[in-house]
């Protein structure tokens, strides 16, 4: 069942040449199921674009220290609440990116700062500039041997030529920290929480869904009712209740792990349903019966005969459930029940943008929300494409 026979000579150059040599035997090119799926997926343009962008998001997240112009903790008292700047790429017709500096006035009564663009001063920008030092890989983990697995550097992909010049692409926050850099660093948490959470749900889903689908009977019935029950509880209130059980003073890594556990608490139900459904329908297939009659052990039937035909569906539903995890973490951190500063995630950043005072004066503080929306949107497109490709025979 893993291989299918398809006469597609134009996609297999070797097949064409061999058939030219001895064309009396009909030539058959064999494309594996994964190949068929890839061909089908490739045609889904939106999903392809999403795959590339999501891939680059993860790439940037891994090398966040390099791509972010500043560190998350770097602040500048002189430039608090500074609005975003626009990059000008050409200076006098020559390539030389720069941003204009700020002119600021402080209201003597309210001490509120107002910024205007200062066209007199140009702050030169450049690629591969020296700046804050960073570590790529593991750092700040509770295990000391893990922390050795990193490389440090101080070159940044793009930033102000002279270290310390104000360059705030997404503006700066109340303390004068660069929002753009923080959004990049926050993606490490926000993007990985979805993956870790989904894999945890997947593990639970495969085990429980598998038991439900394979054994059937009253166990199946019980598990199905239990899933219905969990699904009928509104998720955010339940997550809130579970998240309060995680003390804020715990190590951030442990809190992070606990949050993914909480998100998987409901997340596995969807996965279990997919797995169960697939097991139930595959059980009736002729090729499974044939394998059973041949005396193939159950374990081998599951792993070698059933797994390949539903793995693709699982990958699609995994992708489609990542957005829920990302949104869940964002919501919890936004409410102050999830991750806590100094850890940065998009939700933690949005927490600073809760009051009307902040939103009215510094609307750029909502930009981490745009990052959330875009990521979720891309995962939805990607998942749609994968779902269509999961069954390449239709």
């Amino acid at each position: 069942m893993t291989n299918t026979v398809m006469p597609t000579p134009e996609t297999d150059a070797q097949a064409v040449t061999t058939s030219a040599e001895n064309y009396e035997t009909p030539q058959i090119a064999i494309a594996s199921q994964w190949q068929l799926m890839w061909w089908k997926f490739r045609r889904h343009r939106l999903a392809m674009i999403s795959l590339v962008i999501v891939g680059s998001f993860y790439f940037i997240a891994i090398f966040a220290g390099f791509f972010a112009p500043q560190a998350t903790t770097t602040y500048n008292r002189k430039y608090t609440q500074a609005p975003p700047q626009t990059i000008h790429w050409f200076d006098d017709g020559k390539f030389g990116p720069y941003v204009y500096g700020y002119k600021q006035e402080t209201d003597p009564r309210t001490l509120e700062r107002t910024y205007t663009v200062d066209k007199e001063t140009k702050i030169p920008l450049s690629f591969f500039v020296k700046g804050d030092s960073y570590a790529i890989g593991f750092s700040n983990m509770p295990l000391s041997w893990l922390n050795k697995l990193h490389i440090s550097g101080n070159r940044h992909f793009f930033g102000a030529k002279n270290h310390g010049d104000p360059f705030y692409l997404f503006g700066s926050d109340d303390l004068g920290r660069d929002v753009w850099s923080r959004v990049i660093f926050a993606s490490q948490i926000s993007l990985s929480v979805g993956l870790v959470g989904v894999f945890m749900s997947l593990g639970l889903g495969i085990i429980i869904g598998g038991i439900s689908g394979l054994i059937g009977g009253w166990i199946d019935n019980l598990i199905q009712r239990w899933i219905e029950l969990l699904k009928s509880i509104p998720d955010i209130p339940l997550w809130m209740a579970l998240a309060t059980a995680v003390p804020a003073r715990w190590d951030p890594v442990v809190v992070y792990f606990m949050i993914t556990v909480i998100l998987s608490f409901i997340g596995w139900t969807g996965m279990a349903r997919v797995v169960r459904g697939k097991f139930l329908s595959l059980r009736e297939e002729d090729f499974i019966l044939a394998a059973q009659l041949d005396g193939v052990p159950a374990q081998r039937i599951i792993l070698k005969h059933m797994m390949p035909s539903f793995l693709s569906h699982i990958i699609a539903s995994v992708t489609l459930s990542i957005p829920g995890m990302i949104l869940g973490e964002t919501a919890l951190s936004f409410l102050g029940l999830g991750l806590q500063p100094p850890v940065v995630s998009w939700g933690v950043m949005l927490k600073d943008a809760q009051s009307i005072r902040v939103i009215a004066n510094m609307p750029w503080m909502l930009l981490p929300g745009a990052a959330v929306s875009i990521t979720v949107l891309l995962f939805n497109f990607l998942g749609d494409g994968l779902r269509d490709a999961a069954d390449p025979y239709h």
Binding site: R225, W226, E228, L229, K231, S232, I233, P234, D235, I236, P237, L238, M240, A241, L242, T244, A245, P247, P323, L327, T330, A331, F334, L335, L337, L350, A353, Q354, I356, I359, A360, P363, L366, G369, V372, S373, I374, V376, L377, N380, F381
Partner: protein
């Protein structure tokens, strides 16, 4: 039909029983209890130390040093027998007054956002299916995708920004200050309606986007069926044909979505109401969870679940009424 309804209603009881256990365990999960949380807070504020006897006395008074099973038994039997949801430590009054007040508002807001999602999603879904790949279809699809990808609280924050910069008000609450504690009358109701539409739209947006896609897909499946062609060949007016056959057919899976859209709406309401500071369950639930005011939190969780379970039950019955095949399964 009656048998089916009876069966579904009876199934509610074990479900509610299990949910109540789950809720109670969840509420017990945080380390410590209300007394230890309170004492810790007082220590932070005043630097005074509390004697262990005082602590013990408080626990005794609130029944917190009994075993979890006994606590659960007391809690659930009081709810079932007397409608008593326990004591709110924080507010020093019975929880049910706080709970019912807030829950009523939640019900109103959720219900109106639910109606909003249907009123908007149905016609747009039908339009998008009938005029597939038209400009309107694309525009609605794009808006729908963005709506699905943007969490409700973010839409709320953006709306707050727009309202503040455009009209100079902050959108929060469900009443103008002068009506907040006034008894219900026509003026207050009109004022309420004036405030209601904003949370209604914010909470409904995500669900609407999903429902449009479902309606569109269902209807597209039906539109190519031979019976549609037959009716058209017989010269049936297009709109009458559309509403009478394929739309009715596509409505069944639509009704069955209530089972998951309703919990989603209630969940969305919880977080949006915290942002907009609505007098609904969200803000109080958050607060009670933070200070471990456990009976208030447990009551809210239990009743919110009951709300969605009842909604699902009603949708199942509605579906059985619409589609006879389900009744005889």
């Amino acid at each position: 039909m009656l048998k089916y309804v009876l069966k579904r209603v009876l199934l509610m009881f074990p479900m509610m029983f299990l949910i109540s256990i789950l809720v109670f365990i969840t509420i017990q999960l945080p380390p410590g209890d209300y007394v230890s949380a309170m004492i810790e807070q007082m220590r932070d504020q005043q630097g005074t130390n509390w004697s262990p006897q005082f602590e013990e006395g408080m626990r005794q008074r609130y029944g917190l040093n009994e075993s979890v099973v006994v606590q659960y038994g007391k809690w659930i039997s009081n709810i079932v027998l007397h409608g008593d949801f326990g004591y709110s430590f924080q507010n020093s009054e019975p929880s049910q007054r706080i709970i019912w007040d807030r829950l009523g508002m939640t019900l109103l807001v959720t219900l109106s956002s639910f109606i909003f999602t249907w009123v908007v999603a149905l016609p747009i879904g039908i339009y998008s299916a009938v005029r597939q790949y038209s400009l309107g279809d694309y525009i609605f699809s794009i808006i729908g995708f963005i709506g699905m990808a943007t969490p409700g609280f973010l839409i709320a924050l953006i709306m707050m920004y727009i309202a503040f910069t455009q009209w100079g008000n902050s959108l929060s609450g469900l009443f103008s200050p002068e009506y907040e504690s006034a008894p219900w009358n026509v003026d207050k109701f009109i004022d309420f309606l004036k405030h209601l539409w904003i949370p209604m739209i914010i909470i409904g947006t995500g669900g609407t986007a999903g429902l449009i896609r479902i309606m569109r897909a269902n209807l597209l499946d039906e539109l190519n069926r031979p019976y549609v062609e037959t009716a058209r060949a017989k010269g049936m007016p297009e709109w009458k044909l559309l509403l009478k056959y394929p739309v009715r057919h596509a409505l069944n899976p639509f009704v069955s979505t209530i089972g998951w859209t309703l919990p989603a709406l209630v969940a969305g309401e919880a977080i949006v109401s915290i942002v907009l500071n609505l007098p609904t369950t969200g803000p109080i639930l958050l607060q009670s969870l933070q200070v471990q005011d456990m009976y208030v939190a447990a009551g809210f969780l239990l009743l919110l679940s009951l709300l969605t379970l009842t909604g699902t039950l009603l949708s199942d019955i509605l579906l059985a009424w619409l589609d006879p095949r389900i009744r005889f399964e």
